[in-house]
Symmetry: C2
Subunit: 568 residues, 2 copies
Amino acid sequence: MPPLLDSNVTKIQSDWQERCARRKHVQTELIPPEWVIELPPKSQLNVMDVPRNCGLLSGLELEITETVDVQTILDKLRRAEWSSVQVTTAFYKRAIIAQQLTNCLTEIFVERALGRARELDEHLAKTGNVVGPLHGLPISLKDQFTMKGLETIMGYARWIGNYADSDCVLVEILYQCGAVPFVRTNVPQTLMWGETMNHVFGRTLNPYNLAFTPGGSSGGEGALIAMRGSPLGVGTDIGGSLRIPAAFCGLYTLRPSYARLPYSGAMNALEGQESISSVLGPMANSLSGVKIFTKAILDAQPWLLDPLVMRKGWAEDEYRLIHHGEGGKLCFAIMWDNGVVKPHPPLHRAMVLTKKALEAVGHEVIDWEPHRHLEIYKNAETIFAADGGHDYRAQCEGFEPLIQTMSPTTDSHENALDEPLVKGLVGEPYHRTAHESHLDHWRATKSRTSTGRPVDAIIAPAVAYTAVPHGLNTFDSFYTTLCNALDYACSLFPVTFVDPEVDDPHPPHRFYNHEDEHIYKLYNSELFPGCPVGLQLIGGTQEEEAVIGMTEIVAEALDKMNEVHRRS
Amino acid sequence: MPPLLDSNVTKIQSDWQERCARRKHVQTELIPPEWVIELPPKSQLNVMDVPRNCGLLSGLELEITETVDVQTILDKLRRAEWSSVQVTTAFYKRAIIAQQLTNCLTEIFVERALGRARELDEHLAKTGNVVGPLHGLPISLKDQFTMKGLETIMGYARWIGNYADSDCVLVEILYQCGAVPFVRTNVPQTLMWGETMNHVFGRTLNPYNLAFTPGGSSGGEGALIAMRGSPLGVGTDIGGSLRIPAAFCGLYTLRPSYARLPYSGAMNALEGQESISSVLGPMANSLSGVKIFTKAILDAQPWLLDPLVMRKGWAEDEYRLIHHGEGGKLCFAIMWDNGVVKPHPPLHRAMVLTKKALEAVGHEVIDWEPHRHLEIYKNAETIFAADGGHDYRAQCEGFEPLIQTMSPTTDSHENALDEPLVKGLVGEPYHRTAHESHLDHWRATKSRTSTGRPVDAIIAPAVAYTAVPHGLNTFDSFYTTLCNALDYACSLFPVTFVDPEVDDPHPPHRFYNHEDEHIYKLYNSELFPGCPVGLQLIGGTQEEEAVIGMTEIVAEALDKMNEVHRRS
């Protein structure tokens, strides 16, 4: 926690709104005036096309920013077809457009980023060599990753003026790799929300529907990358904070296991709570971005800089699925319903599509039988609440009110629930820990596959619904938290979009609990058309490489099915 | 904790001595009468030669048990030159000799082990193939590693009758690998002593001098393996429990980092204390045994059975020192003195010998500058004592007294100290955790080496002295605990033996503290002649493979120097 910066706490207490407004004004002033665009009419809720149509970006800048495959961008940078200054400028302009539409940024530092890009261009011109595997690539960072000389505010009024005197280890490695950190992105106050709003920088909006949340807590990254305002971003995840915005914004992400990517030096909430640790991971419009980031950081031997990172570099043989039939037939299990909350119709359709796509290319798909899911979810929530909110209150005290709801209109909106979760839970007796018995359960699927192995991965929703109106994402982590608690490596991949033509409401089922009923009633396909629908691919602990490899297989199968559909 | 097995606790309370004596009697009855030897006279303190001279072992059995290189034994088993029944019988007989001399065993199960050996022999005869990389090899296990159908008493009267209904994961994997678990070995009550004595099985003695302790807590393994009663044993280490007995008994061992070898299902002390975790590791008379065990377990993918094990198999490239100049010139740093307690003269001589040996074959040796050593030691001790001894008391309550001293004669012997450790410690302010700043400190040695790298490993004492009379090993972990607290992988290797001709007492120095003065005064080279002297080689966290690879280099350098000496 940064030190108190002002002595007169009482004065500040009354001034917090002004203090936040001053800081927000500084941010606005950092936008180059020539990058200010004319905003679309308020009635236009989907702003995904604005960058293409607003006239700020040149043809080349549109080409650069709409190059989804990160490897292609890196190749062009390496061959000096595009300079880093060109690429960084293009993404910066688009990020500033995204900022004006969705309010996704915190720190803006155009000169510093372009100075870095220029140095990299000069190095390449002079030596003929790239600095590292991410040479010249602009990378956006969630507002936890400290950079020397910049503030890290992380959604707290108290932290205004919290200038870092060194880079966190991730940023140090990104520099070694030749990257260009170029913006930092918005988070919710406390980090522990599935939406993105705080008193300093305000609320981040979903570019598919500005009335909707991009999710959280890495929601600034979600909105920014969805708008192609960054080719690659870094967020964090303790209960779904990478996967929720990736699902709500149509992105790829990877939630790695605890000890693989270096968190040291980054700011965080709930420091000292180590039962379920926050992890950092990449977010991108392409799976290549996810792979390239993960491989670059692991190849840089992060354990030399962060003693909590395990000594294991990128395992190419695991990426090539050495433990999963070496690229032969795989068997996936689909978690249609975790027995706690039933997914909305678009999620169900996404799972049906994925099953068909995988079977069409020769893989096997069976049903996943949930195991201790509710118990694990509840235990995780208990761990997150173990300090009784002390950390949050301590950061807010004397500076600003603690945010109690993400609803834009009221402190207790119509969908707020005050009944407790799942009144009737009766614990079953288990002789093994959840980690052990869940692994046993997974291994036992061997008897149901034709591969001679347990199922290679689980495919599941990340959230039971797609993006929702601000304030309504209150029960988001039933499907994500399993992986945090058991430390399973997992990805999120986009599958489709909500389509009112086919996503009819399901008939009511016998509700598992109050929340299940609430979520069932939330669904109205007319509210959600066009929202992205994504799914998780869940692998074993520390199986990052194989999770990426298997997600590639799933994504290719989905692409192939879509092509067949287009042709027919 | 196993359940109470008897309802009448009060009755048991008065009967604990009888209860323990009954269990000890059962153990004695399990020794085949034809393996009972005539004991040497009481005045003979060094019993290392008894197995060779007592007449129980045939020529072949002596050849088998004195084959120190585990690879050679495995090769002969694979080629059926020796059957597993022959090898197991030979080591079992020698283990029973060791038991009669040093009281090193707990569980004895001759028929079961020979039955297993017979099955393996039949499998090999029938299929021509070995079952796994440890085919036919007898392996001894510290009395924590549960085996189905056997008791795990772990030094507690309460745990008598605690039969396991399944194998722990380590044993499961050892069976997969073709090993023959054949005895279990003694531990101290509570496991948290550097000596080995409990009320059920009594005290384990050091075969180099029966009046001395073999160390602890893996002291049963130490005495057994020193007598060649087992080719390979498995112990555990939370503060030095592998390295202390290895040092006091002249063995090799490896203390791996926390998450590499599977502890799941084994019994342990202080369950729930996860700040500094106990780890398991191999003990052997040869480094080949250490390597073969570690590789076999890692190659078996232990993470599939124990979710707390990291997903990283044996890394052959790290063993080949890919991150340490690939087998070229290395730079070691010697920790001559950690600034807390000064090592005894034989330890100093061992370090001088090692430095000379390494320099003679072209490696570099510089001085290690201790960093936060006392602070780390004290914090570790605080963690170990964090439950105020509740765990120990709970296990003893109603069954037996908690052991307060390892002294054989009295509850407060002449060397007991009641003054606190290091009265004058003043903490220095650090902005980084001990893990981070110790890693920084290590990395900064790059400026003092000629290799372009930080020092490749640290060479240090494990204990400031060699084996001592029973009850006197009260301050043993000043040098070992550093590695537990920082989770550095490290080995222990034997260097020499105490030699009164050259190991003159050092002149008194300005004592760092009370313990340092006490340890200085403990030294009397006439007391210790012939005791083994070993050192630690300390590598980075999770650097097991490189630690083994570098220890091989050190051991070969020492061998080469000894050969030169013998020739000259």
